[in-house]
Protein backbone atom coordinates (compact mmCIF):
# COMPACT_ATOMS: atom_id res chain seq x y z
CA UNK A 1 0.00 0.00 0.00
CA UNK A 2 2.89 2.32 0.89
CA UNK A 3 4.63 1.46 -2.41
CA UNK A 4 1.45 2.23 -4.37
CA UNK A 5 1.16 5.67 -2.75
CA UNK A 6 4.78 6.43 -3.54
CA UNK A 7 4.06 5.91 -7.29
CA UNK A 8 1.06 8.22 -7.19
CA UNK A 9 3.11 10.91 -5.48
CA UNK A 10 5.68 10.70 -8.31
CA UNK A 11 2.95 11.24 -10.87
CA UNK A 12 1.62 14.19 -8.90
CA UNK A 13 5.15 15.62 -8.67
CA UNK A 14 5.54 15.31 -12.42
CA UNK A 15 2.29 17.17 -13.09
CA UNK A 16 3.29 19.80 -10.56
CA UNK A 17 6.62 20.32 -12.30
CA UNK A 18 4.80 20.58 -15.66
CA UNK A 19 2.54 23.27 -14.25
CA UNK A 20 5.55 25.18 -12.90
CA UNK A 21 7.39 25.07 -16.26
CA UNK A 22 4.37 26.14 -18.33
CA UNK A 23 3.50 28.79 -15.77
CA UNK A 24 6.96 30.30 -16.13
CA UNK A 25 6.59 30.25 -19.94
CA UNK A 26 3.32 32.15 -19.68
CA UNK A 27 4.92 34.68 -17.33
CA UNK A 28 7.73 35.45 -19.82
CA UNK A 29 5.16 36.54 -22.46
CA UNK A 30 4.85 40.19 -21.33
CA UNK A 31 8.63 40.47 -21.14
CA UNK A 32 8.85 39.39 -24.79
CA UNK A 33 6.18 41.91 -25.81
CA UNK A 34 8.07 44.76 -24.14
CA UNK A 35 11.29 43.55 -25.77
CA UNK A 36 9.59 43.46 -29.18
CA UNK A 37 8.56 47.13 -28.87
CA UNK A 38 12.15 48.35 -28.58
CA UNK A 39 12.66 48.74 -32.33
CA UNK A 40 9.41 50.66 -32.91
CA UNK A 41 10.22 52.83 -29.88
CA UNK A 42 13.55 53.73 -31.45
CA UNK A 43 11.89 54.70 -34.74
CA UNK A 44 9.25 56.83 -32.99
CA UNK A 45 11.89 58.54 -30.85
CA UNK A 46 13.96 59.32 -33.93
CA UNK A 47 10.91 60.75 -35.77
CA UNK A 48 9.99 62.95 -32.80
CA UNK A 49 13.50 64.26 -32.23
CA UNK A 50 13.96 64.96 -35.94
CA UNK A 51 10.68 66.89 -36.07
CA UNK A 52 11.66 68.99 -33.03
CA UNK A 53 15.11 69.72 -34.50
CA UNK A 54 13.51 70.95 -37.74
CA UNK A 55 10.90 72.96 -35.86
CA UNK A 56 13.62 74.57 -33.75
CA UNK A 57 15.87 75.45 -36.71
CA UNK A 58 16.75 79.12 -36.54
CA UNK A 59 15.28 79.40 -33.04
CA UNK A 60 11.69 79.38 -34.32
CA UNK A 61 10.38 76.97 -31.71
CA UNK A 62 11.64 79.14 -28.83
CA UNK A 63 10.06 82.22 -30.41
CA UNK A 64 6.71 80.44 -30.88
CA UNK A 65 6.75 79.31 -27.24
CA UNK A 66 7.59 82.84 -26.04
CA UNK A 67 4.64 84.11 -28.09
CA UNK A 68 2.41 81.37 -26.58
CA UNK A 69 1.47 80.42 -30.13
CA UNK A 70 0.39 76.88 -29.21
CA UNK A 71 -1.89 76.47 -32.23
CA UNK A 72 0.99 77.15 -34.63
CA UNK A 73 3.29 74.70 -32.81
CA UNK A 74 0.58 72.05 -32.92
CA UNK A 75 -0.10 72.64 -36.61
CA UNK A 76 3.60 72.52 -37.52
CA UNK A 77 4.17 69.31 -35.57
CA UNK A 78 1.18 67.83 -37.33
CA UNK A 79 2.74 68.73 -40.68
CA UNK A 80 6.22 67.48 -39.85
CA UNK A 81 5.29 64.16 -38.27
CA UNK A 82 4.23 61.35 -40.60
CA UNK A 83 0.58 60.55 -41.09
CA UNK A 84 -0.26 57.68 -38.72
CA UNK A 85 1.70 59.07 -35.78
CA UNK A 86 -0.29 60.95 -33.15
CA UNK A 87 1.33 63.30 -30.69
CA UNK A 88 0.81 65.25 -27.51
CA UNK A 89 3.22 68.05 -26.63
CA UNK A 90 3.67 69.78 -23.29
CA UNK A 91 5.89 72.79 -22.66
CA UNK A 92 7.45 73.32 -19.23
CA UNK A 93 9.00 76.59 -18.10
CA UNK A 94 12.15 77.02 -15.99
CA UNK A 95 10.19 76.32 -12.80
CA UNK A 96 9.00 73.09 -14.40
CA UNK A 97 5.41 74.31 -14.56
CA UNK A 98 3.25 73.59 -17.58
CA UNK A 99 3.45 76.63 -19.85
CA UNK A 100 1.00 75.77 -22.61
CA UNK A 101 -2.47 77.00 -21.79
CA UNK A 102 -4.14 74.89 -24.48
CA UNK A 103 -3.39 71.27 -25.41
CA UNK A 104 -1.11 70.61 -28.34
CA UNK A 105 -2.26 67.30 -29.73
CA UNK A 106 -3.68 65.75 -32.88
CA UNK A 107 -5.21 62.63 -31.44
CA UNK A 108 -5.60 60.43 -28.44
CA UNK A 109 -2.60 58.50 -27.20
CA UNK A 110 -4.28 55.43 -25.84
CA UNK A 111 -3.76 51.73 -25.95
CA UNK A 112 -0.59 52.01 -27.98
CA UNK A 113 3.06 52.15 -27.16
CA UNK A 114 3.84 55.75 -26.20
CA UNK A 115 7.32 57.19 -26.58
CA UNK A 116 8.37 60.42 -24.91
CA UNK A 117 10.97 62.82 -26.33
CA UNK A 118 12.31 65.61 -24.14
CA UNK A 119 13.91 68.59 -25.83
CA UNK A 120 15.43 71.77 -24.39
CA UNK A 121 14.47 75.00 -26.13
CA UNK A 122 15.81 78.52 -25.73
CA UNK A 123 14.06 81.68 -26.81
CA UNK A 124 16.99 83.74 -28.08
CA UNK A 125 15.13 87.04 -27.63
CA UNK A 126 14.40 86.69 -23.90
CA UNK A 127 16.92 83.91 -23.13
CA UNK A 128 14.06 81.95 -21.58
CA UNK A 129 14.60 78.20 -21.17
CA UNK A 130 11.82 75.74 -21.83
CA UNK A 131 11.53 72.00 -21.93
CA UNK A 132 9.18 70.43 -24.42
CA UNK A 133 7.96 66.92 -23.81
CA UNK A 134 6.65 65.32 -26.98
CA UNK A 135 4.75 62.07 -26.60
CA UNK A 136 4.26 59.97 -29.70
CA UNK A 137 2.33 56.84 -30.59
CA UNK A 138 1.22 55.05 -33.73
CA UNK A 139 -2.45 55.56 -34.44
CA UNK A 140 -4.30 52.29 -33.82
Amino acid sequence: MLMDNRGQIRVLEAFFATAVVFGSLVLTGPAYVSYQNRSSNGVLYSLGLNALIELDRGGELGALIAQSNWTEISSRLSLLLPVGVSFNATVYNEDHEIANSSPMTDGVLEGGNVVSVRYMVVDTATLGFYEISLQLAYVK
Partner: protein
Protein backbone atom coordinates in the same frame (compact mmCIF):
# COMPACT_ATOMS: atom_id res chain seq x y z
CA UNK B 1 4.81 -5.05 -7.20
CA UNK B 2 3.07 -4.81 -10.57
CA UNK B 3 1.22 -1.67 -9.48
CA UNK B 4 4.52 -0.06 -8.39
CA UNK B 5 6.14 -0.83 -11.73
CA UNK B 6 3.21 0.66 -13.61
CA UNK B 7 3.34 3.78 -11.41
CA UNK B 8 7.10 4.12 -11.99
CA UNK B 9 6.71 3.68 -15.75
CA UNK B 10 3.91 6.23 -15.84
CA UNK B 11 5.91 8.77 -13.85
CA UNK B 12 8.95 8.17 -16.10
CA UNK B 13 6.78 8.74 -19.15
CA UNK B 14 5.41 11.94 -17.66
CA UNK B 15 8.93 13.11 -16.78
CA UNK B 16 10.26 12.44 -20.29
CA UNK B 17 7.23 14.19 -21.81
CA UNK B 18 7.80 17.09 -19.43
CA UNK B 19 11.47 17.42 -20.45
CA UNK B 20 10.64 17.29 -24.18
CA UNK B 21 7.77 19.79 -23.97
CA UNK B 22 9.90 22.05 -21.80
CA UNK B 23 12.64 22.01 -24.46
CA UNK B 24 10.11 22.84 -27.17
CA UNK B 25 8.56 25.55 -25.02
CA UNK B 26 11.86 27.16 -24.12
CA UNK B 27 12.93 27.12 -27.78
CA UNK B 28 9.61 28.69 -28.81
CA UNK B 29 10.07 31.50 -26.31
CA UNK B 30 13.80 32.10 -26.73
CA UNK B 31 13.98 31.91 -30.54
CA UNK B 32 11.98 35.14 -31.19
CA UNK B 33 14.08 36.86 -28.51
CA UNK B 34 17.26 35.98 -30.35
CA UNK B 35 15.78 36.87 -33.74
CA UNK B 36 14.48 40.18 -32.41
CA UNK B 37 17.85 41.02 -30.93
CA UNK B 38 19.52 40.32 -34.26
CA UNK B 39 16.87 42.37 -36.09
CA UNK B 40 17.26 45.25 -33.61
CA UNK B 41 21.01 45.19 -34.09
CA UNK B 42 20.59 45.26 -37.89
CA UNK B 43 18.13 48.14 -37.63
CA UNK B 44 20.51 50.14 -35.45
CA UNK B 45 23.44 49.54 -37.80
CA UNK B 46 21.37 50.56 -40.84
CA UNK B 47 20.01 53.62 -39.03
CA UNK B 48 23.57 54.69 -38.21
CA UNK B 49 24.49 54.29 -41.88
CA UNK B 50 21.49 56.38 -42.97
CA UNK B 51 22.44 59.08 -40.45
CA UNK B 52 26.05 58.93 -41.63
CA UNK B 53 24.86 59.76 -45.16
CA UNK B 54 22.73 62.69 -43.96
CA UNK B 55 25.01 64.06 -41.24
CA UNK B 56 28.40 63.70 -42.94
CA UNK B 57 29.64 66.01 -45.73
CA UNK B 58 31.62 63.29 -47.48
CA UNK B 59 35.02 63.89 -49.00
CA UNK B 60 35.98 66.17 -50.68
CA UNK B 61 33.78 68.18 -48.34
CA UNK B 62 32.48 70.36 -51.19
CA UNK B 63 32.10 67.59 -53.75
CA UNK B 64 28.71 69.02 -54.77
CA UNK B 65 30.06 72.23 -56.26
CA UNK B 66 33.63 71.11 -56.94
CA UNK B 67 33.14 69.29 -60.22
CA UNK B 68 36.82 68.55 -60.81
CA UNK B 69 37.41 66.29 -57.81
CA UNK B 70 36.65 62.60 -57.45
CA UNK B 71 34.27 61.49 -54.72
CA UNK B 72 36.04 59.36 -52.13
CA UNK B 73 33.54 59.48 -49.25
CA UNK B 74 29.79 59.90 -49.64
CA UNK B 75 27.76 62.26 -47.47
CA UNK B 76 25.10 64.85 -48.25
CA UNK B 77 25.44 67.30 -45.35
CA UNK B 78 26.45 70.87 -46.00
CA UNK B 79 30.06 71.36 -44.94
CA UNK B 80 30.40 73.75 -42.01
CA UNK B 81 26.75 73.59 -41.03
CA UNK B 82 26.24 73.63 -37.26
CA UNK B 83 22.71 72.20 -37.34
CA UNK B 84 22.04 68.53 -38.10
CA UNK B 85 20.21 67.34 -41.22
CA UNK B 86 21.13 70.43 -43.24
CA UNK B 87 21.94 69.15 -46.72
CA UNK B 88 24.06 70.75 -49.41
CA UNK B 89 21.96 72.03 -52.31
CA UNK B 90 24.54 70.94 -54.92
CA UNK B 91 25.17 67.48 -53.44
CA UNK B 92 21.43 66.79 -53.56
CA UNK B 93 21.14 68.24 -57.06
CA UNK B 94 23.93 66.00 -58.35
CA UNK B 95 21.93 62.93 -57.31
CA UNK B 96 19.37 63.78 -60.00
CA UNK B 97 20.05 61.92 -63.24
CA UNK B 98 18.58 64.80 -65.26
CA UNK B 99 21.39 67.08 -64.17
CA UNK B 100 24.37 67.27 -66.54
CA UNK B 101 26.75 66.95 -63.55
CA UNK B 102 25.05 63.97 -61.91
CA UNK B 103 27.09 61.39 -60.01
CA UNK B 104 26.70 57.73 -60.86
CA UNK B 105 25.40 55.23 -58.37
CA UNK B 106 28.53 53.13 -58.87
CA UNK B 107 30.79 56.03 -57.80
CA UNK B 108 28.64 56.76 -54.77
CA UNK B 109 28.36 53.09 -53.86
CA UNK B 110 32.15 52.72 -54.01
CA UNK B 111 32.68 55.94 -52.04
CA UNK B 112 30.34 54.83 -49.28
CA UNK B 113 32.36 51.63 -48.93
CA UNK B 114 29.58 49.32 -47.82
CA UNK B 115 29.64 46.71 -50.54
CA UNK B 116 27.04 44.50 -48.86
CA UNK B 117 24.42 47.22 -48.41
CA UNK B 118 22.48 48.50 -51.41
CA UNK B 119 20.60 51.71 -50.66
CA UNK B 120 18.11 54.16 -52.10
CA UNK B 121 17.68 57.82 -51.20
CA UNK B 122 14.43 59.66 -51.94
CA UNK B 123 14.15 63.39 -51.30
CA UNK B 124 10.87 65.17 -51.97
CA UNK B 125 8.80 68.08 -50.70
CA UNK B 126 6.82 67.42 -47.51
CA UNK B 127 3.51 67.87 -49.34
CA UNK B 128 2.26 67.71 -52.93
CA UNK B 129 0.76 70.35 -55.17
CA UNK B 130 -1.32 69.47 -58.21
CA UNK B 131 -2.65 71.83 -60.88
CA UNK B 132 -5.41 71.58 -63.47
CA UNK B 133 -6.37 74.06 -66.16
CA UNK B 134 -10.16 74.20 -65.85
CA UNK B 135 -11.13 76.95 -68.30
CA UNK B 136 -9.89 79.87 -70.42
CA UNK B 137 -11.50 83.01 -71.79
CA UNK B 138 -9.98 84.35 -74.98
CA UNK B 139 -10.31 88.07 -75.61
CA UNK B 140 -9.03 90.15 -78.52
CA UNK B 141 -5.82 91.18 -76.74
CA UNK B 142 -5.48 88.83 -73.79
CA UNK B 143 -6.47 85.39 -72.55
CA UNK B 144 -7.57 84.60 -68.99
CA UNK B 145 -6.71 81.10 -67.71
CA UNK B 146 -8.45 79.59 -64.71
CA UNK B 147 -6.46 77.01 -62.73
CA UNK B 148 -7.62 74.68 -59.97
CA UNK B 149 -4.92 73.91 -57.40
CA UNK B 150 -4.95 71.27 -54.71
CA UNK B 151 -2.48 70.69 -51.89
CA UNK B 152 -2.28 67.42 -50.01
CA UNK B 153 0.01 65.34 -47.88
CA UNK B 154 -0.24 61.55 -47.95
CA UNK B 155 -3.60 62.00 -49.72
CA UNK B 156 -4.91 64.19 -46.88
CA UNK B 157 -5.72 67.82 -47.71
CA UNK B 158 -3.74 70.63 -46.12
CA UNK B 159 -4.07 74.40 -46.31
CA UNK B 160 -1.27 76.37 -47.95
CA UNK B 161 -0.47 79.85 -49.20
CA UNK B 162 0.26 80.02 -52.90
CA UNK B 163 2.41 82.19 -55.09
CA UNK B 164 1.68 81.57 -58.77
CA UNK B 165 3.48 82.64 -61.92
CA UNK B 166 2.50 82.34 -65.56
CA UNK B 167 5.45 82.53 -67.94
CA UNK B 168 5.25 82.87 -71.70
CA UNK B 169 8.25 84.03 -73.71
CA UNK B 170 9.29 87.22 -71.89
CA UNK B 171 5.90 87.70 -70.16
CA UNK B 172 5.78 86.92 -66.44
CA UNK B 173 2.52 87.33 -64.54
CA UNK B 174 2.31 86.63 -60.81
CA UNK B 175 -0.66 86.12 -58.55
CA UNK B 176 -1.14 85.09 -54.92
CA UNK B 177 -3.81 82.82 -53.53
CA UNK B 178 -4.30 80.07 -50.96
CA UNK B 179 -5.90 76.69 -50.56
CA UNK B 180 -8.56 76.06 -47.95
CA UNK B 181 -8.47 73.41 -45.23
CA UNK B 182 -10.00 71.12 -47.84
CA UNK B 183 -6.78 71.62 -49.84
CA UNK B 184 -8.52 73.33 -52.76
CA UNK B 185 -7.90 76.72 -54.33
CA UNK B 186 -8.10 78.50 -57.66
CA UNK B 187 -6.16 81.19 -59.49
CA UNK B 188 -6.78 83.27 -62.62
CA UNK B 189 -3.88 84.50 -64.71
CA UNK B 190 -3.97 86.73 -67.77
CA UNK B 191 -1.52 86.52 -70.66
CA UNK B 192 -1.25 88.96 -73.57
CA UNK B 193 -2.06 87.47 -76.97
CA UNK B 194 1.42 88.01 -78.36
CA UNK B 195 2.94 84.99 -80.04
CA UNK B 196 1.98 81.35 -79.64
CA UNK B 197 3.46 78.23 -78.12
CA UNK B 198 4.11 76.72 -74.70
CA UNK B 199 3.52 78.68 -71.51
CA UNK B 200 4.20 77.55 -67.96
CA UNK B 201 2.03 77.93 -64.90
CA UNK B 202 4.19 77.69 -61.77
CA UNK B 203 2.81 77.28 -58.26
CA UNK B 204 5.02 77.59 -55.18
CA UNK B 205 3.07 76.69 -52.06
CA UNK B 206 3.94 77.15 -48.40
CA UNK B 207 2.24 75.29 -45.58
CA UNK B 208 4.33 77.21 -43.04
CA UNK B 209 7.31 79.54 -43.15
CA UNK B 210 9.79 76.78 -44.08
CA UNK B 211 7.73 73.97 -45.55
CA UNK B 212 7.24 74.57 -49.24
CA UNK B 213 6.37 72.62 -52.35
CA UNK B 214 5.85 73.41 -56.02
CA UNK B 215 4.20 72.34 -59.25
CA UNK B 216 4.80 73.34 -62.86
CA UNK B 217 2.01 72.98 -65.42
CA UNK B 218 2.83 73.50 -69.12
CA UNK B 219 -0.07 74.67 -71.31
CA UNK B 220 -0.57 75.90 -74.87
CA UNK B 221 -1.06 79.64 -75.33
CA UNK B 222 -2.66 80.84 -78.58
CA UNK B 223 -1.99 77.43 -80.04
CA UNK B 224 -4.01 74.31 -80.72
CA UNK B 225 -1.04 71.95 -80.43
CA UNK B 226 0.07 70.34 -77.19
CA UNK B 227 2.68 72.12 -75.02
CA UNK B 228 6.24 70.90 -75.47
CA UNK B 229 7.36 68.13 -73.13
CA UNK B 230 10.14 68.80 -70.63
CA UNK B 231 13.56 68.37 -72.25
CA UNK B 232 12.27 68.52 -75.84
CA UNK B 233 14.25 71.66 -76.65
CA UNK B 234 16.83 71.99 -73.90
CA UNK B 235 18.01 70.54 -70.61
CA UNK B 236 18.58 72.84 -67.66
CA UNK B 237 21.23 71.90 -65.10
CA UNK B 238 21.74 74.13 -62.08
CA UNK B 239 24.92 73.65 -60.05
CA UNK B 240 26.95 75.93 -57.77
CA UNK B 241 24.47 78.78 -58.39
CA UNK B 242 25.10 78.60 -62.11
CA UNK B 243 22.53 77.45 -64.63
CA UNK B 244 23.74 75.46 -67.61
CA UNK B 245 21.38 75.21 -70.57
CA UNK B 246 22.11 72.61 -73.25
CA UNK B 247 20.03 73.09 -76.38
CA UNK B 248 18.95 69.97 -78.18
CA UNK B 249 19.21 71.59 -81.61
CA UNK B 250 21.51 74.38 -82.84
CA UNK B 251 18.59 75.84 -84.75
CA UNK B 252 16.70 76.70 -81.58
CA UNK B 253 17.48 79.78 -79.57
CA UNK B 254 17.04 80.45 -75.88
CA UNK B 255 15.95 84.05 -75.41
CA UNK B 256 15.09 84.44 -71.72
CA UNK B 257 15.94 82.78 -68.44
CA UNK B 258 14.40 83.55 -65.08
CA UNK B 259 14.20 82.21 -61.53
CA UNK B 260 11.10 82.10 -59.32
CA UNK B 261 10.81 81.61 -55.57
CA UNK B 262 7.85 82.05 -53.25
CA UNK B 263 8.63 85.73 -52.65
CA UNK B 264 10.46 86.94 -55.74
CA UNK B 265 11.36 86.34 -59.33
CA UNK B 266 14.36 87.60 -61.28
CA UNK B 267 15.59 87.61 -64.86
CA UNK B 268 18.92 85.85 -65.19
CA UNK B 269 21.93 87.33 -66.86
CA UNK B 270 23.98 85.24 -69.23
CA UNK B 271 27.64 84.85 -68.26
CA UNK B 272 28.96 82.80 -71.14
CA UNK B 273 27.44 82.21 -74.53
CA UNK B 274 28.20 79.48 -76.99
CA UNK B 275 26.21 77.90 -79.77
CA UNK B 276 24.65 75.01 -77.91
CA UNK B 277 25.47 75.58 -74.25
CA UNK B 278 24.68 78.70 -72.24
CA UNK B 279 25.49 79.62 -68.66
CA UNK B 280 23.52 81.94 -66.40
CA UNK B 281 24.33 83.13 -62.91
CA UNK B 282 21.74 82.20 -60.27
CA UNK B 283 21.23 84.58 -57.33
CA UNK B 284 21.85 83.26 -53.81
CA UNK B 285 18.38 83.82 -52.42
CA UNK B 286 17.61 83.46 -48.72
CA UNK B 287 13.93 82.73 -49.32
CA UNK B 288 13.14 79.26 -47.85
CA UNK B 289 11.57 78.03 -51.04
CA UNK B 290 12.32 75.80 -54.01
CA UNK B 291 13.79 77.86 -56.84
CA UNK B 292 12.04 77.18 -60.15
CA UNK B 293 14.30 78.05 -63.07
CA UNK B 294 12.68 78.70 -66.44
CA UNK B 295 14.18 79.15 -69.89
CA UNK B 296 12.09 80.31 -72.84
CA UNK B 297 13.03 80.50 -76.48
CA UNK B 298 11.90 80.26 -80.07
CA UNK B 299 11.63 77.34 -82.43
CA UNK B 300 10.92 79.23 -85.64
CA UNK B 301 7.93 81.33 -84.71
CA UNK B 302 6.71 79.05 -81.89
CA UNK B 303 7.71 79.76 -78.31
CA UNK B 304 8.95 76.93 -76.14
CA UNK B 305 9.54 76.81 -72.41
CA UNK B 306 11.84 74.57 -70.40
CA UNK B 307 12.16 74.42 -66.63
CA UNK B 308 13.87 72.79 -63.73
CA UNK B 309 14.08 73.36 -60.00
CA UNK B 310 17.04 74.07 -57.73
CA UNK B 311 17.59 71.90 -55.67
CA UNK B 312 16.54 69.32 -58.27
CA UNK B 313 13.99 67.47 -56.16
CA UNK B 314 12.05 65.21 -56.07
CA UNK B 315 14.92 62.84 -56.62
CA UNK B 316 15.21 59.07 -56.30
CA UNK B 317 18.77 57.80 -56.25
CA UNK B 318 20.23 54.34 -55.79
CA UNK B 319 19.06 50.75 -56.03
CA UNK B 320 15.54 50.26 -57.30
CA UNK B 321 14.97 47.14 -55.16
CA UNK B 322 12.86 45.58 -57.89
CA UNK B 323 14.26 42.05 -57.55
CA UNK B 324 12.20 39.35 -55.92
CA UNK B 325 12.74 39.51 -52.17
CA UNK B 326 14.97 42.61 -52.35
CA UNK B 327 12.87 44.48 -49.83
CA UNK B 328 12.49 41.52 -47.46
CA UNK B 329 15.52 42.38 -45.38
CA UNK B 330 15.62 46.12 -45.95
CA UNK B 331 15.05 49.00 -43.57
CA UNK B 332 13.49 52.38 -44.39
CA UNK B 333 14.20 55.50 -42.35
CA UNK B 334 12.39 58.80 -42.73
CA UNK B 335 14.01 62.12 -41.92
CA UNK B 336 13.17 65.77 -42.30
CA UNK B 337 16.04 67.63 -43.88
CA UNK B 338 16.71 71.26 -44.67
CA UNK B 339 18.03 72.35 -48.05
CA UNK B 340 18.57 76.06 -48.61
CA UNK B 341 16.40 76.86 -45.54
CA UNK B 342 13.39 74.88 -46.79
CA UNK B 343 12.25 71.61 -45.24
CA UNK B 344 12.05 68.43 -47.34
CA UNK B 345 11.30 64.82 -46.57
CA UNK B 346 14.05 62.26 -47.06
CA UNK B 347 13.68 58.50 -47.03
CA UNK B 348 16.74 56.27 -46.89
CA UNK B 349 16.16 52.59 -47.65
CA UNK B 350 19.04 50.26 -46.84
CA UNK B 351 18.96 46.66 -47.96
CA UNK B 352 20.38 43.62 -46.28
CA UNK B 353 23.39 41.63 -47.33
Amino acid sequence: MVATTIDTLLSCFVMVTLVLTSMVGVYTVVHPFLQEQQSLYKMQVNQKLAEYILLGPGYPVNWGSDLATFLTDFGLAEYGSVAPYELDIDKVTRLNSENAYNVSFLDVFSALGTQDKPFRITIKPVFDVSVNLTSKQEGPTETVYHFQISTERSSLPIAADLCCYAVFSDQVVSNASSTSNAGEGSVDVTLQNEGSGTALFIVIAKADSKTASYAVYPFAHQSSSNPNSQGAYATLSPIDYTLRIDLVSDEDKMSHAMIMTYSNWFSLSEINESQATMFYELPRLLDPSPMVVVGTGLDGSTSFAEWTVYPQVPVVFGSNFTGEGDLLDSYAFRYLVTINSAVYECEVVIGGA
